[in-house]
Amino acid sequence: MIHPPLVALVGNPNAGKSALFNALTGARQKVGNYPGVTVERHSGRLALDDGRPVELVDLPGAYSLDPASADERVTRDVVTGSGRYERRPDALVVVVDAANLDNHLRFALQLIALGLPVIVALNMVDLAERDGLTLDPAVLARELGVPVIPTVAVRKRGLDSLRAALTELVGGSAPAAAVSPEAQAPMPVLQRRARQIAQAAILAETPGRRWGMMLDSVALHPVFGPLLLLALLFVMFQAVFAWSEAPIGWIEDGFAALEAFVSGALPAGFLRSLITDGLIAGVGAVLVFLPQILILFLFILVLEASGYMVRAAFLMDRMMARVGLSGRAFIPLLSSFACAVPGIMATRTIDDERDRLTTILIAPLMTCSARLPVYTIIIGAFIPDRTVAGWIGLQGLVLLGLYVMGILGAFVAALALRRTVTKGASSGFMMEMPKYQWPQWRDVALGLWTRTLIFLKRAGTIIALTTVVLWALLSFPKPPEGSRVSPVDYSVAGRIAGGLEAVVRPIGFNRDIALALIPAMAAREVAVSAIGTVYAIDDPEGAGGQRALGDKLRGRWSLPTALAFLMWFVFAPQCISTIAVTRRETNGWKWPAFMVGYLFAAAYIMAGLTYWLAVAVGL
């Protein structure tokens, strides 16, 4: 099979490469992984003006051909044609930020010297103009010796010219003699040359404060900066609860209607119980959290796309340095409040291996949205709905306490890890702060859609499967007619839980909790539906629904048990997806095994302490 010509987009981080890639390929793109490394490969098809197809690949952003991270190594190996990850591209589109030529041209010079056919996309010319910078692309083209096309990727400007230039370039002249990266001029020489070319290409430059710098004077202010960050985080978590109320209601109503419909359509018995108690109740109990997860991700995606996230990292660096991490760890940790899986994947931007490992190991301690179902139901059942000090809701206060507990736990864990298993000199914090820009709503929507799919897949497979398996284990074998043993105790699951109960009894957990913990290994939120299933089978006459479940819990659990259960979920690593992604990101079972071990130990100790303390003070 003959491959279409391969064209690679290369450039510095923040050059607007991905936006250009999205604009050129539209929806026809594939996201995969480079073999053997955890670096995403984005590729897509593009039709040239004469109808020939080319494959376009968006290489990870890099500052030079001297790689500092796995991402940059892929970029270097692809453009130099090492053949490890990809066939050598037939042409390069080097993307440079028009407002930052001094810096971006240096990498462009290195890339041009490789001898492949090159087009330079002079991107974000509109922002450069806004900053008072007028450039002459013709001068740039003459100095660099390659075509230069001004583009504004996010407004789809210059794309036709770029495609026309590519049509001419691909399959045209034979590549010039290559200069290997080792034989290239040293960095300072290239840098000076880049500055000279940039100076020559600038026609006019009006000095003056840019509005981005004015924003920074607030966002990075020693006093207002942290206040702004705190306010943003407050609004974010408020919105997660406030905005999600209505959609959660719709989902609940929808599932209730579905359950009623199925109950009416099927005769009472085995199949109906499986579908309503097992499948619909299980998936429904989890799906109601989709709105909250999406709202949290909406904020994170917008903060990231606007350029604010790096400012937050700047403000957090000092605090993170105290526990041996850097401000860079803030971004993955914040994402982990939505879900640890994308959080752990976001640690790829941390260059330092030990820093990155520490961040991965503490990411599951951030209160992810999967814990919310557990927290909400237990708090609703056991914490009285009243206010303290006049206006602070006690339930909300307990929820906040659980979030804080996770953060404190993470800090203590980071300190301990940095002194033991991830010992070593602390890495630095050196980061380019991208320009502020309006988020592209299309890109944000695309990001949210991807998360929705991942979540639905999870709810549809892992969660549905574990719920159904649990339902089966709980339902069989049936106790003989007239037996005084409850159906649950008699079942397979009941017998397994009996063994586990001995282990968790000292920390105040009963048989029902032991039962729920097993399927909740797959995903924390399953604990809720699992407990629901246990009680539904134990008491088939009882009413269903969340409120009824709360009443049942109150009847069967003591307050210390409930508090210990909450504390358990602050620490316990009950999530198959997190363990799997940790294995992938650390290339082996060693670190996920360590993570699971230390978190379970912490969960056991902290839940135990909570229980004994609560009993001691007479709760």
Binding site: N100, N103, Q191, H221, P222, G225, G428
Partner: protein, 84 residues
């Protein structure tokens, strides 16, 4: 006219300055390389925009048309002379 040589840690905020010297050997190798890649070099114009807080915390400075964040330990290796 005498030129004041200052470190990037102590130069006043919003004072336009020129990098006079960088003690590369004081920096860890990856740090030094990243610093170069972000455009730091002798003779380059630089301006401190923000300091997270007095005493510690990172520094944000403008180099070329970029804003770059770095820690004080790195900034201490960069000496600058103030432009007038």
């Amino acid at each position: 006219m005498a030129t004041m040589i200052d470190s990037l840690v102590t130069v006043p905020r919003n004072q336009r300055a020129t990098v006079f010297a960088i003690e590369w050997e004081r920096l860890a190798q990856p740090e030094a390389r990243r610093l170069r890649e972000l455009g730091f070099d002798e003779g380059v114009g630089v301006e401190v925009l923000h300091r997270a807080r007095l005493g510690s915390g990172p520094i944000a400075c403008r180099i070329g048309r970029m804003t770059v964040a770095l820690r004080r330990t790195v900034a201490a290796a960069i000496s600058v002379s103030a432009n007038d």
